[in-house]
Structures are given as C-alpha cells and as structure tokens.
C-alpha cells in the first residue's frame, strides 16, 4: 500500500504547485519541487541493502476489482535501479532548472506540474507488476513528455516536435497494449510475475510471436530505435532540463526497461534475440553516424542518445541469448546483461551532464549552433572540464565509467561469434564489426561536441550574447555528475554489487537465482592480448585520425536524403488532407442530408434486424377495447397533424401542434396516466406561451410564408420511418421476452419505498439516476439559452482572432 502511494506522491505534490507559484512567487517554485524527488531518493536508497540480497517488496492498491485491475508496486533489483535513477537524476535536474528557468518570465507552475506528473508516470512504469496499470503509466509518460516538449507552446517547432513525439510513442503504446492483452489471454493473468513463472508454457502458444512483436514495437518507439527514432531530435525543442531528464536519462529508457522486464518471458524465442540485438546494433551505428551531421549541440546529443540506447538494447538482446546456452555463465555471454545495466547507469550520468552543459552554453551565449561556437575553453573553464569528462566517458576513454562498460559491450559482441544458434555462426561476425564501426563514430562525435564548442577560435561577433561562465548554482548538478563519472571508474565492483547485480538477476532469472550468483568482476585491465583491447586501441587511432580530418569530409553528409522524416511528414499531410477530403464528400453542410443519413440508417438497421430475426408479429388478442372517446381523440390528433402538414402560416401550424399535444394529454387521461396528463397539459400551455413570445419578437416571419413543396424523396423516407415505427410498436406489444419489472415495483412500493404513487416513486427512488441526469440536462438547456441570448459574440468582430 505505502509503496503504491509513494508512486503517486509527485502527482499529489503537483496539486500544490500552482498555489505555491501564485502565493510564494518570490521564492523559485523549484525549491519546493526539489523536496519531492530528494525525499523519494532517500527512501528508495534505504531499500538497497535488502534488495541487494535478492529480496523484493510488493504492495497493492485495488483499482477496479471487478475487472481484476490493481496498482501493484513490485520492487526488485531492476525496478529499484530505475526508481533511483528517476528520483536521483530528477532531483539534480530540478536543482539545475531552478537556475535555468527564470522565475519571473517562465510559467513555472505549468512546468513543474508536468514534471511531477512525469515523475509519477515513470515510477509507475518501472514498479507496476500489473500490465494494465503499466500501460496506463506508460501513456502518461507520453502525455507528460508531449506537454513538456510543447512547454514553449508559442513556438511552431515546439508544437511540431511535441505532436511528433506523441504520435509515434502513442502509436507504439497502443501496439504494446495489444501485446499485453494477448499475453493476458495466453496466461490468463495480467501479473508480470505470474506470466514469468508460466514462461515455458507460453512459448508454444499461437499468439506468442504476435505478443512479442507488438510489445517490441512499444519498446522501440519509446526508446527511439530505428526507424522510430525520428521523434527524438525534434523533441529537443523542450527546455534543456527536460531533455536531460526525459530524453536522455529516464523516459527513453522506459523501452529498455520493458525489454529487460520481459526478457525472462521472451528469451526463449530466436525472434526476440535477433530483433532486439539486430535493431539495437543497427540503431547504434545509424545514430552515431548521423550525429556528425548535426549542427545543433542538442541535435548531436539527441543522435548520440539514439545511438547509445541502441547499444544498450543490443546488449539486452545478447543477454537473452544466454537462455539458449547450457553453460552461459562460463562463456563471455554472461557479460552482456551486466554490461547493459552498467552502461545504462553510465549513460544516465554522462549524458545528463552533457545535456546540462549544452543548456549552459545555450543560456550563456544565446546559441546552440556549433558553427558559431568555439574557443569557449578559457571563458567557461568549469563547463569545459565537465563537458570533457562527459564526452570522454561517452567515447569510452579511461579513467571514466564509460570505458568499462564500453569494453564489456565489445566483449559481449565478440562473444556472439562463438554462439551457434539461429545461424549466428554465419552472421555472428557482423555484430562485432558493426559495433566497432559504431564505436568509432561515437568516438568522433564525442570529440566533435567538446572541441568544436570549447576549442578552436572564439567568434564573439557571431554570438547573440557575450559568453561567460554560468552561475555557480547551475554548475552544481553537471559537476556532481562529472565527479560521479570518474568515481564509477574506480569503484565499479561496489556499484556492481549494489545496483547492477540485483537488476541482472531480475533480467536473467534463467541463469542466476540470486544477485550473488552473478559472477562478474569488472576490471579496467584484462591483459595484453584480448580482442577487446585491440579493438579499443583501433577505435582510438582510427577515430582520432578521422576527427583530425573531420572538416574535409563532413560536407559529404549533405548528400544523404532525409527519407524517414519526409516519410513521416508526408504521412501526416496525407492523412490530414485525405480525412478532410473524405469527410467533405458527405459533410454537405445541409442539416437535411444528415437527417436523411440518420433516418435511412434507422430504417435499414431496424427493418434488417426484423427480417433477420423474423420478428414481425401482430397479436390480435390481449388488446384493450376500442371506445368512442378514443376514436374521437384519435381523429382530432390525426386531423391536427394533417393541418400542420398543409398549413401555410406558421401560426396555424403552432396552434395545430398545441392541439396535437392536448390530444396526447387526453390519451393519457384515458389510459390511466394521471401524472402524465397533468404534466402534458401544463407543458403544452407553457410551450404555446413560449412560441408566442418568440413570435412576438419576430413579427416579420409569420406574415409571409414560402409554401412547402411536396418532395417525393422526403416523403419516401418519412413513410419508411412511419412504417418501421408501426412495426416496432406492433412487435413490442405482441412479443414480450421478459415479464415486466413493474410487478416488482407494485410489490415493494408501499412496504419498502414508503410511497403510493408508483410513477413518482420510480422517478425519485427506483430510477433516481435518470431524474438526476434529467434535471442536469434541463440545467444545461437553461444555460445554453442564456448563452445564446445574452452573449453576442458576433457583434464583437474585432476580437475575433483570425480576422
């Protein structure tokens, strides 16, 4: 229970943010927000010892018990690691944003409400054990990401980027929901833990591959894998704290989390291993290759994030391959799972700091265009140092954390060549080759990012603002992360013991039954003659040479067409205009056309059902006798209706309508419905008064009247509806499928409801809901009428925005 409530803590705190922003405006709202992730981080840290021993925590809150849907917070090694990342990086990002966003100019209440909403959503994703609540939180991350990217909503690029990310991730989310439902059908449960325990039976199910592909679509769109990555570069329109938080450290890793979480279920499938490894590795190459094309600092980082996510994704794929090997713990494959998690931590650390530096450069110089930047080293020494540490860690240089995980990545890829399932013996050699090329480009763009910004010639005339070092508060978070990147290099095994191994045990339960069983020891130095070492040395040399000559060949990038993005743009354009054109074929603007559609469908559907079920029935028995009064009233009713049809003046028509109403009231009298008769009489009177009032104000209309011409088409439809209704009335009277519920009312009305007039008791008691909503409708109609008459918007043409 309490763990579930902690998930909701940020969103509950968000309720108070607008109030704090309005009332305590002189203190930056961020300081209050900071308390939330900081407190959560401290709490989750206290769980570390028990989780590191292989324990777990579960708590449950019922949501829709009738459908068996609940919020279940399940914390094991993997969930805890992500929760710590979310709250830890979250706290640092909030701290950074306090200095990044101006408290007077920015709409901080919006910003922090979205951010806290995201925090809840993300914690929910990584802790939910129930698939449906996981999906709910998953889409909530998409929505809060949409709101945060569009935070500066007056900019076209922001709105475009927000919509693009929403379109792609929500598409993936829906696919994933399909996969979840299939899993639910297969295993007859929505609990991930129960599904994992059933994994061996699920494999042979018909839906297995479908569920696999659908869930991967969700993961790939969220984690910006090829070809869905195109939303991430456009998402860079968000404020930089958001990019650092959502689009590098947390949200885009939700896809990785999903793949890791489902590895125990899907690892048995060769499709899974191939797809996850293959797409991941290709994304890594693609992202790193195109990072060099970018001119925008954040664009470079976006492509680098795509590439790094691909790297981690491929490692997760390799760790699933461990399922198929008898002695997986013996050979080097066991590095893969460890490397994936370890690199995930490293990436959050160095990429977070790099984004913050990009934000600082933007903030202090006014531009992120790398062609205008240069030579900032002497002006911004601290930022330069942090950027260098982050970039070197990303490039895989010692002594930074990234070096260790990059080495393990290469080890894992090389190990694939020894793997002899799924025709890996033929294609396996491709993996280390692609990994190596990707790493070379990673090396180059890391250097490109740092040195083209901070080294070279300073061009003050091109900068919108004179460059200077950032304020101290803004530097706290990036400096802290940079220090962390160094520290991790020296204590990799402590990090491994507390954070990585418990998570690995959750990903590869088929290999390890407890975190202690994960037999991986990280060392910076493996010996002289390992393949990985030579690969690393080759990366440094080739990468260094290519960076040296970068200016000579970078222009070649302009020859690559931007196929994927234009595909997306065309798709959006076509669906927009296509839907527009299609709806114009039937949306004529005539109310008559719409009524014709509705009535024709009514006739077709009702008569069709009649024919299909053979429901035509006329029961001549059991009818009430026909009396003289009835006949007279009926004639009056029909007569007044005919008068309406043929009347030339409106006044006649209205009076005839009144006559119809009074005839109906008389019917109610005859058929023993006193309440109805009373109501109908009064209503009819007031209606006539109302019509007269309206006509009193519109004298011109009632004088001259265009004669209503007979139209055959209209008459045909009208006749059809009339016949249908007669048939319905006959059939309803003749065949009764169920006995009337009225018997129940008659028995209970006096004893249980304490009333005598059954009709009124039905209204206020048995079916009170109807009445409640009815008076609601009445109120709405009243409001509508007041609005129509009192508000004269058309009179104020000048205020119309588009004119």
């Amino acid at each position: 229970m309490s763990l579930v409530l902690l998930i909701f803590l940020p969103i509950i705190a968000a309720l108070f943010i607008p109030l704090l922003f309005k009332k305590v405006g002189q203190i930056h709202t961020g300081w209050f927000v900071l308390l939330v992730p900081a407190a959560l981080f401290i709490y989750y840290s206290t769980l570390l010892p028990s989780i590191a021993e292989g324990g777990n925590r579960v708590s449950e809150l019922q949501w829709i018990p009738s459908l068996d849907i609940a919020f279940i917070a399940y914390i094991d090694g993997l969930s805890l690691l992500f929760s710590l990342l979310i709250t830890g990086i979250g706290a640092l990002v909030v701290l950074y944003s306090i200095f990044y966003l101006d408290k007077y100019r920015e709409q901080l209440h919006n910003f922090y409400v979205y951010l806290l909403m995201f925090m809840t959503a993300m914690l929910g994703v990584v802790q939910s054990d129930h698939l449906i609540s996981l999906y709910l939180f998953w889409e909530l991350t998409s929505i809060s990401s949409f709101l945060l990217i569009g935070y500066w909503y007056t900019r076209d690029r922001s709105r475009f980027g927000a919509l693009k990310s929403m379109m792609i991730t929500v598409f993936g989310g829906l696919m994933m929901l399909g996969g979840f439902v299939l899993l639910g059908i297969m295993g007859n449960t929505y609990s991930i833990r129960e599904l994992i325990s059933q994994a061996p039976e699920l494999v042979s199910h018909d839906f297995f591959v479908w569920a696999l592909v659908l869930i991967l679509l969700g993961a790939f769109t969220k984690s910006a894998q090829f070809p869905f990555y195109i939303w991430l570069p456009d998402a860079m329109e968000a404020p930089t704290p958001v990019s650092a938080y959502l689009h590098s450290a947390t949200m885009v890793k939700a896809g990785l989390y999903l793949v890791a979480r489902f590895t125990p279920i899907f690892a048995a499938s060769g499709t899974w291993v191939w797809l996850v490894t293959g797409i991941g590795l290709f994304t890594m190459l693609w992202g790193s290759f195109f990072a060099l094309k970018q001119k925008d600092l954040k664009g470079i980082l976006a492509f680098s994030t795509v590439s790094q996510l691909g790297l981690i994704m491929s490692l997760l794929g390799v760790s699933a391959a461990g399922f198929h090997v008898e002695n997986a713990t013996e050979i080097a494959l066991n590095y893969a799972g460890f490397a994936a998690i370890f690199h995930l931590i490293n990436h959050a650390v160095f990429k977070g700091s790099l984004f913050m530096i990009a934000g600082i450069v933007d903030h202090e110089t006014g531009t992120r265009d790398i062609r205008k930047l240069g030579g900032l080293m002497s002006l911004m020494p601290i930022s330069f140092t942090v950027a260098m540490i982050g970039a070197f860690s990303m490039a895989g240089l010692p002594p930074f954390g990234g070096f260790l995980s990059k080495e393990m990545f290469l080890t894992g890829m090389v190990a694939l060549t020894e793997f002899d399932l799924f025709s890996m013996d033929v294609w396996g050699i491709m993996f280390p080759v692609i990994a190596w090329i990707g790493s070379v480009f990673t090396f180059i763009y890391s250097f490109y990012f740092v040195f083209h910004t901070f080294a070279g010639k300073h061009k003050p005339e091109e900068l919108p603002k004179p460059a200077h070092e950032a304020p101290k508060g803004m530097l706290i978070s990036p400096v802290f992360l940079a220090i962390l990147a160094v520290v991790i290099f020296f204590i990799p095994n402590i990090v491994g013991e507390w954070l990585v191994k418990p998570a690995v045990a959750a990903i590869q339960p088929f290999m390890y039954d407890s975190p202690q069983a994960v037999d991986v020891h990280v060392a910076a130095w493996h010996g002289y003659i390992t393949t990985e070492l030579w690969m690393t040395i080759a990366i440094f040399t080739v990468g260094g040479l290519m960076f040296w000559t970068l200016r000579k060949w970078q222009h070649l990038y302009d020859r690559f067409p931007n196929t994927l993005n234009s595909l997306y743009d065309n798709l959006m354009f076509l669906s927009d205009t296509g839907a527009n054109r299609f709806s114009r074929t039937y949306m004529t603007g005539f109310i008559r056309s719409y009524l014709v559609y509705m009535f024709s469908f009514l006739v077709i559907i009702v008569l069709g059902t009649f024919v299909l079920n053979d429901a035509f029935a006329i029961d001549m028995n059991n009818t009430a006798p026909v009396g003289l009064y009835e006949i007279v009233i009926m004639l009056a009713l029909v007569g007044s209706t005919v008068t309406i049809l043929f009347s030339k003046s409106r006044l006649t028509a209205i009076i005839a309508l009144g006559a119809v109403g009074y005839s109906v009231a008389l019917f109610f009298v005859i058929f023993r419905a006193p309440d109805l008769a009373l109501t109908q009489l009064v209503i009819e009177t007031i209606s006539v008064a109302l019509f007269l009032l309206a006509f009193y104000h519109l004298p011109q209309i009632s004088r001259k009247e265009e004669r209503m011409r007979f139209r055959f088409g209209n008459a045909l439809i009208a006749f059809g509806v009339g016949v249908t209704m007669t048939l319905v009335a006959l059939a309803a009277h003749s065949g009764k499928a169920l006995p009337s519920i009225s018997e129940f009312y008659k028995e209970t009305v006096y004893k249980e409801a304490g009333g005598g007039n059954i009709v009124n008791v039905i209204l206020v008691d048995y079916r009170g809901f109807d009445t409640l909503f009815e008076i609601g409708v009445l109120g709405i109609a009243g409001i509508g009428i007041i609005t129509l008459i009192k508000l004269r918007l058309t009179k104020k043409e000048g205020q119309h925005e588009n004119k």
Binding site: F590, R592, L595, V596, F599, N622, T623, A624, E630, M634, L637, V638, T641, I644, L645, R650, I654, L657, V660, V664, F667, F671, R672, A673, P674, L676, T679, I683, S687, L690, A694, I701, M708, N714, A718, V721, G722, M725, T726, V728, A729, L730, H733, S740, S742, Y750, K751, G756, I758, V759, I762, R767, T771, E774, L778, A781, G784, L788, I789, T794
Partner: protein, 115 residues
C-alpha cells in the same frame, strides 16, 4: 386498441420526419415536437393500454389490474426533456433569424471558408 394506436404512432412519426426534412427551421422544430409526441405514445403502447386503474397504491391496498407504471415514468422524464430541447431549438431559430435574417436551411448552409 393497440393495433390502431400503432398505426397512429406510425403516422405521427411520418409527419414528423417529413417536416424535419423541410427547409424551414421553424418546421423542423415543429417536427421534433411531433416526433416526441409519437415517441411518448409509442412507449405507452409498448407497455399495454389495458390497465383498469392508475398505478397508485392507495393506503397499501393493492389492486391487481394497474396500468404499467414504468413507461409512464419514462414518458414523464421525456416530456420535460423534450420541452427543454424544443425551447432550446426555438431560441436557436430566433437567434439565427436575428443574426442572419433567414430561417431557410439552404441559406444557413455556410460557405467553404467558414471552417
């Protein structure tokens, strides 16, 4: 009786639909009024018209042959709602005439650039 009522209901619906398909806004409003009358009678007929006494239990003494109270309750709700809707329509027509000077649906169609 129910058979004849069914025919009358059909006739009411037919007249209502014919009016609703015409061009004049005020005729459409009258048509909706007729439509609701037809619907009320339809509900009443569905429940059977043969009840001997109104659905009122006097002092706890139950009579066997009541008119069916459920359709009556439904109709009561429907009457009041249709009154609200009719008056709303009326105001729409009235305002449309005030602003645009016509109640002809063909002229009220709107143009291509009104989107």
């Amino acid at each position: 009786m129910e058979i004849i009522m069914s025919v009358v209901i059909g006739f009411l619906f037919m007249a209502a639909v014919y009016l609703m398909l015409s061009k004049s806004l005020i005729r459409i409003i009258i048509g909706t009024g007729l439509l609701s009358h037809g619907a009320h009678l339809l509900l009443l007929t569905m429940g059977g018209l043969g009840g001997e006494s109104p659905p009122v239990v006097a002092d706890g003494v139950s009579v066997s042959d009541y008119a069916d109270p459920l359709p009556q309750a439904l109709i009561l709700t429907a009457i009041v709602i249709s009154f609200a809707v009719t008056s709303f329509f009326l105001v729409v027509a009235y305002r449309a005439y005030q602003e645009l000077g016509t109640d002809n649906m063909e002229l009220l169609k709107g143009t291509e650039d009104h989107e």
